[in-house]
Amino acid sequence: MTADIDGIALAAEGLCKRFGGNTAVDRVSIAFAKGRLHSILGPNGAGKTTLFNLLTRDLLLDSGTIRLGTTDISRLTPDRVARMGVARSYQISSVYPDMSVRENVWIAAYRARGGNPFAFWRQATSFPEAGQWADTCLSRLGLSEIADVSVKELSYGDQRLLELSVTLACAPQIILLDEPTAGLSRKEAERVKRVIMSLKGEFSIIMIEHNVGIVMDLSDSITVMNRGVVVAQGSPDEIRGNRDVQEAYFGS
């Protein structure tokens, strides 16, 4: 597979996660290649978001190992993992409502630019690098105009764009996107698609998305999950041709 060419950015071995009696992720082994865009498809409740949560250590593993490059991160805390270059966007927008758009991005940019979070003796404004980087990320998603608007006042679609912008500001190596175009109008979805396209190559991207058009256009490889297990894996064309996937996912 493609993985061998560029090396592995992130790999999981035998991941399991149970909620009570229900196994949301069941012995999933998966590898994500460096610099590639790898999509995860699957019906609702397949375990995609749970897999993300495991990879970023937001949830504790029941069993399995996760390797970032050559480092075992299965026991690290989520903030450590984030500092090692794994950034994510959430399926449900997860922004700071009492802050402006720019501040939202700044918080991510400051950490990404190596700012010390305990620096209580200096003004936040005395760190121009973070500010500049935040502005760059905002303009990349076309949010510069509304940078000073309070986030409470944004429409849902704009919140989704902001979510992406924040993720970008983490300046990660690996980006995990959970349904980045959900709730976006065609035009915005198109913009997000272009942004993701431009990120490809720069970063390793893992994406969950129900918009099949976008998945097929962007992905280098696709993994299909159902009921917590991986049911298919391959290039977009292979997946399109897979009968089982057709039935379970597209319903035809």
Binding site: D58, A82, Y110, R111
Partner: protein, 336 residues
Amino acid sequence: MTEESLAASQAIPSVKAGRRTFALLKAFAAIAAVCVLPLVMPINIATEILIYGMFAMATNLLIGTAGLFSFGQAAFFGVGGYAAGYFLAHGWTSLPLVLFMAFASGGLLAAMIGGLIIRRLGIYFMMLTFAFNQLVYYVIYSWHSVTGGEDGLAGIRRPVLDLPLIGSFSFDDNRSLYGLVCVLFLLSIGVLARLVQSPFGLVLAAARQNSRRTISLGYHVPALQLAAYVIAGAVSGVAGALFGMLYRIMPIDSVHWAASAYVVFMVVIGGQRSMLGPVIGAAVFIWLQGLFSLAWTRWPLLLGLFVIIIMTYLPQGLVGLASQRWMRAIKRGARV
């Protein structure tokens, strides 16, 4: 006083020119206000307002900025006061020493308690702070030989500041103690205001709004919150020490959880979203308490009604009211 609003959320976005001079202006206004305070009220009340102002500001670092609803801050106020008081009552009267003791004991206790509870969320955190407050209360209450138990720690002497060359300076006089309290008060305003606008303050504010997101951005949120908890505890400890010096007694009810509730009162009626809100809350609260108690024996009823009315009509507290008025005035001025 000015209707200053140094809310974390305003620190970054627009670094407009003139902001700095404005801030300077506000600082002068604060200093001026502090200087005239003893002219308009008995000096012990003025001193008390500044002490509780400090205490309330420190508490607001937790409540307003970090969103950690602590109902146990009196434990740190009390422990700082008892620690300093113990030294002062037993003949160690060096000012730096006792201030350090208060700062360190408040901070240390906060580090110990905070280390255990900082990961607990919402109402659980609230209840834990309450329970620890009660535990500290019972320890101080029963440790009679050191703390004086229910009689309070009595016999506290005022400290002495030994300056090389100049000689030693005593705070026996109420006016000189007021001076000392003033200096420490302004210092803590400066430090806390700076802190709220710093990256540390911003990230705390971010974690208040969405802690999971903040962690996923690479911040170790519990460590930051613990730091805030310790800072608040240490500053509260100093406030407690000053209180002990003022009345030369450290009363047991200063550690009771009701005292924690009262400081939350001050923060909320003053306004959580600004630096001076809690101070104004403290001033109004203390002043009203005195006023009402002269007016009617059933005065807590008036106090209760006052709080209910403020919360009903002024969502942002007293400072919210002031700044609304002010903004409107500015707009009107601009139109003319």
